[in-house]
Amino acid sequence: MAERQSIELHINEETHVVSPDTGNTLLQVLRSTLSLTGTKRGCNQGVCGACTVLRNGVPARSCLTLAVECDDEEITTIEGLAPNGKASIVQQAFVKVGAPQCGFCMPGMVLVATALLREHSNPDQAEIREALSGNLCRCTGYVKIAEAIELAAEQLV
């Protein structure tokens, strides 16, 4: 119960012991302390979704999550989807349809898509749009992102 305390974060199946300030967000710890820079900061206000990680399997905004609140939790960042550089089916689908443009939103989008497909193996357009609704992309109009999710869903069955 001090200003800084040591916590354990289980990130991408590795345990990291860190001592963030109380006010440090998970996003700050991931990017600055752990150099996991695949998680992006687009707004720091919880609106854009660029900072999305999976927290115990559920998409969460790391900019609205204090690191100390995640003690002993399982966190998956974008880097965790392709251990050893082997891209996941979802990642491959994003590349195949040509979804990434500037790419800044993509880590968040891929994670949201991954979580969606774990829950619903065959989502319809409405479910896909709903799942994406919290993540902003300025480049793609979301069309190819939705296409990628459909393709990944086909390949996952």
Partner: protein, 786 residues
């Protein structure tokens, strides 16, 4: 990253399993070369970089829209432990920067001219300390009267924003005065005389607000000094060369002492032509340590730049038979506190305000004003979107009066290949009518046009807009070198900000030399590289840059043939390129050499390395002064025009006024599709951004203070607001003098969306909204009037 079968490289020089065409990669949906990095979090953006002993920068923005700076007290900030430098204008050379008008200090000097204007900068050991130090800087101000509206700013007696405007260096010949940055006119025919011949005349005033590009990656830079004392600046920019120039001139150091590099850039849309790089570089020079400065979203929205707010008065006349006769246009742009690219934006507004139609009598008068708001600059659509909103709205109103189908009306008046824009600029290829027809005959569009109500009983309507834009500005170049193993190194200095240009340029290079894109090493933009490029703008990748890449690749081919001819003892004209990176003797399948053998012969035995280069300038089209009268107009750079059309179907909730876009169509004559998936992606993105601007986006200021500086208050479209059905119709009328016939098309996909939506709303419920964004409230207000 591995794991993609189709990315497994074949070694160059190996014959492919079946013999494809040499240029097999042209027109293929080749996977984007940066795709795997971007979906895996491996792509590195400016803020992802970290350097040893790196400091963090922060900026203090002005609290006043217009104030004299009487004094600074930075001692408390300097005394804060961890602070390494505090800079104000007093610490910097007295030097303005500015691409069109040299009017802008990198930190406010003497005066501050908008709320948020950077006035001091801090470098400290952490972001938190830098930001805390900024709060400790005390500045004494004398508040001055401010002006926010462009017309009020140009009226007599308005507070003067730049007292020294007369002494600024300018790259424009346009007349200027007091708060007027530039005044331009363009006129062809005799507008005043022909009103009497018009059977129908529509007149109206249109307002377009300032909006922000909302690239997902905010502006930022990281600067450090290298071993030779040269500044290295990694930056999120659309032009490394303009950025290098602005840093060098602001800090009064030679360009040889500045090197700019771009890592991945998270979007730009025109608005990333220079940002915090000079200030970051100044902090590095002051501390001799690496400094990173990345803006927060609210800082970016209050410190960077906007799309020009515009007020447009327009009057259009037609004969009863549906022939357009005449258009008179008055454009007023709000340029904000600094000129930035305003004169160029105005020039493009003026050039295309009459739309892609044969109108014999057109007069356009345009002015751009200084005001005490955030500067306006380049933005996707570059000055053309604003008058297009007015013009395309008027065409529908005229069509209604004429009782003609709006698409037929447009086709009837559409420009054709061989016409002259504004009586002056030659148009070699215009297939606007074909674009319009392709939508008109699209089965889904026919069905949508017939559908007057949606499933819940709400009214539906369709709307159309023609689209045109000039493209291809200024200079580009390319250098292609063949590496020892026969792979290619391509250097252009052009920045892929998400448009897929790295991939499409690699396709052009690879396709010209018979290789796959995996054999092309696209060099990251670096001012220390060999090639120069003006920057990512005006769909230059498809015109100027691809031209350079194509010609440089041909130069490589010529060298390969030259060397091979010696090696194979065969005249060059009997040689042929073979797919996979081989040169062989025509009709002698066994007699061939892989590129690697040829290049190594050159390197170690013969005529030196194989390097092809090309430098390109897009030839300027001049005004024909007999046909066209002009004031202050000088289209710098080339002018080349592209054509397309956008249609939408909307549903209007008459209780609340909310508009939903149900489907969209965008047809464009792209000349030749280099990468179909990439091209469709650009169309989807442009249409979505257009919907966003048409329905939701507006920067709102209250007495100079931005009231919505967050993505919470300033809304852009999310997935639910964009229709599932966006039809990208890519027409291919090849441009003879362009490599593979390609034309630029990605930028203007945004232009027609707002007018198409306005027309669709009018078609659905009869409400004509002349002010953007078309908010629910505006729709209801208009409905209650009509």
């Amino acid at each position: 990253m591995t794991g993609y079968d189709n990315l497994t490289p074949r070694m160059p020089g190996e014959a492919p399993e079946q013999e494809p065409r040499i240029d097999a990669v042209i027109g293929q949906s080749v996977l984007k070369i940066d795709g795997p990095a971007k979906v895996s979090g491996a792509a590195v953006y400016t803020d992802d970089l970290k350097r040893p002993r790196m400091l963090h920068g922060a900026l203090l923005g002005s609290p006043y829209p217009h104030a004299r700076i009487l004094g600074y007290n930075t001692s408390a900030a300097r005394a804060l432990p961890g602070v390494k430098a505090v800079l104000t204008a007093e610490d910097l050379p007295v030097q303005n920067i500015g691409a069109a008008v040299c009017d802008e200090p990198i930190l406010a000097r003497g005066k501050t001219r908008y709320v948020g204007e950077p006035i001091a900068a801090v470098a400290a050991v952490s972001v938190a300390i830098a930001r805390a130090a900024v709060q400790l800087i005390e500045i004494e101000y004398e508040e001055l009267p401010a002006v926010f509206d462009a017309e009020e700013a140009m009226a007599l007696g308005a507070p003067i924003i730049h007292e020294d405007a007369g002494s600024y260096a300018r790259a424009t010949e346009a007349p200027f005065a007091d708060n007027m940055v530039a005044h331009m006119e363009l006129e062809t025919g005799d507008v005043d005389k022909v009103w009497a011949e018009c059977d129908h005349i529509i007149e109206g005033e249109y307002a377009i607000p300032a909006i922000h590009a909302q690239y997902m990656e905010t502006c930022g830079a990281l600067a450090e000094l290298d071993n030779s004392g040269k500044l290295i600046v990694w930056c999120s920019t659309q032009s490394i060369f303009l950025t290098q120039l602005s840093i060098a001139s602001a800090l009064q150091i030679p360009m040889s002492k500045v090197r700019c590099i771009t890592p991945a850039v998270g979007g730009g849309f025109g608005a990333k032509f220079g940002s915090v790089e000079p200030i970051t570089a100044a902090l590095t020079l002051a501390t001799r340590r690496p400094v990173k400065l990345v803006l927060s979203r609210d800082e970016d929205m209050s410190m960077m730049r906007t799309r020009h707010a515009a007020k447009i008065r327009m009057k259009t006349g037609a004969r009863a038979d549906g022939t357009l006769l005449c258009r008179d246009i008055d454009i007023i742009l709000n340029g904000g506190a600094y000129a930035d690219l305003s004169p160029l934006v105005l020039e493009c507004s003026i050039l295309l305000a009459h739309g892609p139609y044969r109108i014999p009598n057109v007069r356009t008068v345009g002015r751009v004003a200084y005001t005490n708001r955030l500067r306006a600059g380049a933005f996707r659509g570059f000055g053309v979107m604003q008058p297009t909103f007015a013009g395309e709205s008027q065409l529908d109103e005229l069509a209604a009066k004429l009782q003609i189908d709006p698409i037929d009306f447009r086709i009837r008046n559409a420009m054709q290949s061989g016409d002259y824009n504004m009586g002056s600029h030659h148009i070699p290829s215009c297939h606007l009518a074909e674009c319009l027809e392709s939508i008109q005959s699209h089965p889904d569009f026919i069905a949508a046009s017939a559908e007057r109500v949606g499933p819940t009983g709400r009214k539906r309507g369709v709307g159309i807009s023609s689209v045109t834009q000039q493209s291809g500005l200024f200079s580009s170049s390319a250098a292609v070198r063949v590496a020892e193993d026969g792979t290619l190194v391509l250097n252009t200095g052009y920045i892929d900000i998400g448009t897929g240009s790295d991939t499409s340029l690699a396709q052009i290079c690879a396709g010209t030399l018979g290789l796959g894109v995996e054999h092309v090493n696209v060099v990251a933009p670096d001012t220390d590289g060999v090639a120069y490029d003006f920057g990512t703008a005006s769909d230059r990748a498809s015109r100027g840059v691809s031209e350079s890449v194509y010609r440089a690749s041909l130069a490589v081919k010529q060298k390969l043939f030259e060397f091979a001819s010696v090696m194979l003892q065969c005249p060059p004209d009997r040689l042929e390129l073979r797919p996979g990176g081989r040169v062989g003797i025509i009709e002698a399948p066994e007699a061939e050499l892989p590129f690697s053998a040829i290049v190594q012969w050159g390197l170690y035995a013969g005529n030196g390395p194989i390097i092809g280069t090309h430098a390109y300038y897009m030839q300027e089209q001049k005004i024909n002064h007999v046909q066209t009268r002009s004031v202050g107009f000088r289209m710098g750079g080339g002018v080349w025009y592209g054509y397309g059309a956008t249609a939408v179907q909307v549903e209007v909730n008459e209780d609340t006024g909310q508009v939903e876009v149900i489907a969209a169509w965008h047809a464009h004559d792209v000349g030749r599709v280099i990468n179909p998936d990439g091209a469709r992606g650009q169309v989807y993105g442009g249409v979505a951004q257009g919907i966003s601007g048409a329905l939701y986006e507006e920067l709102v200021w209250d007495n100079g203070h931005l009231t919505n500086p967050s993505l919470m208050d300033y809304k852009i479209v999310g997935a639910p607001e964009v229709p599932h059905r966006i039809h990208a119709i890519l027409l291919e009328n090849r441009l003879p003098d362009s490599p593979y016939g390609a034309k630029g098309f990605a930028e203007p996909t945004i232009i027609g969306v707002a007018p198409a939506i306005a027309n669709a709303v009018a078609n659905a419920v009869g409400a004509r909204v002349r002010t953007l964004p078309i908010t629910a409230e505006r729709v209801l207000n208009t409905l209650s009037v009509s």
